[in-house]
């Protein structure tokens, strides 16, 4: 180990070493005219990469903060609208139709499961957003893209890749008309 003040002036640690490791005389003219401290350059680039990744880390914290804000304050807001979505006689038992609720939403799927029984869910599969189709005789909803299955009565996933239930639309039947009255969060 060298003592302080006795370092070899030709110590490779203290020289600028070109990337190809050849001597300065063997370097092209442009490199001799514009010498670069390559070792220091490498170090600075690596340090800046660390800095950039720390900024990415800060961005991920911002994302977590956004989720906290959504969880704390995202539940409020105006009462959901009540909108008619179908006439009772419009659908046969086992029949289905799509609608939007509220206006401008993604498509929802209304299914008549019995003479007086209706269910409605978001039509987008919770896996990769493919539209689900009803298989009423099996009591299921099917996503044909990746063979996912949901329980028609609850919207919960029962087979295939989906892990979250379909968001359910609350319904009311008044005077032979089916009304949508709200959207329930999906549950696992």
């Amino acid at each position: 180990m060298s003592q302080p003040g006795t370092e070899n002036p030709r110590d490779v640690e203290r020289l600028t070493v070109p990337p190809d490791r050849r001597s300065v005389a063997e370097q092209p003219k442009w490199r001799r005219d514009f010498p670069i401290d390559f070792a220091e350059d490498d170090y600075t680039a690596r340090r800046d990469l660390v800095k950039f990744i720390v900024l990415t880390s800060a961005a991920l914290v911002v994302g977590q903060g956004w989720l906290v804000l959504k969880a704390l304050f995202g539940k409020g807001g105006a009462a959901p609208p009540v909108l008619p979505v179908a006439e009772v006689d419009e659908l046969p038992v086992g029949g289905a139709k799509t609608f939007t609720y509220p206006e401008g939403s993604t498509p929802r799927l209304l299914v008549r499961t019995g003479p007086e029984a209706f269910v409605a869910y978001d039509q987008q599969c919770t896996h990769l957003l493919c539209p689900v189709v009803p298989a009423v005789e099996q009591g299921r909803l099917h996503c044909p893209c990746h063979n996912g299955w949901f329980d028609l009565a609850t919207g919960r996933p029962i087979a295939g890749p989906p892990r979250r239930a379909l968001p359910r639309i609350r319904l009311e039947v008044r005077e032979r008309t089916v009304y949508a009255t709200g959207v329930e969060d999906s549950a696992t």
Binding site: I53, V61, Q64, L67, V68, R163, R164
Partner: protein, 74 residues
């Protein structure tokens, strides 16, 4: 008389490479935290959101500390 640098270049390079490895590892943990939290949140489970955010802040603190140490090497 100039002060002798605390570390030779090759050692600084080793240190910065080690830091880079650690920082990437911590960011991967944060990314996993965010993904898992988002999945739970969209599934209706909000109980995990705050602890996960605190863990992510701790990870950022660790990363910032490592970066600060890196700048103090010079």
């Amino acid at each position: 008389m100039s002060a002798r640098p605390r570390f030779l270049r090759s050692r600084r390079m080793t240190i910065v490479n080690g830091m880079l490895f650690l920082v990437i590892l911590v960011v991967m943990v944060q990314l996993w935290l965010l993904t898992a939290t988002m999945n739970a949140y969209l599934g209706g489970d909000t109980s995990i959101v705050l602890p996960s955010a605190l863990a992510s802040v701790a990870c950022l603190g660790l990363n910032a500390g490592l970066l600060r140490y890196l700048y103090r090497l010079e």
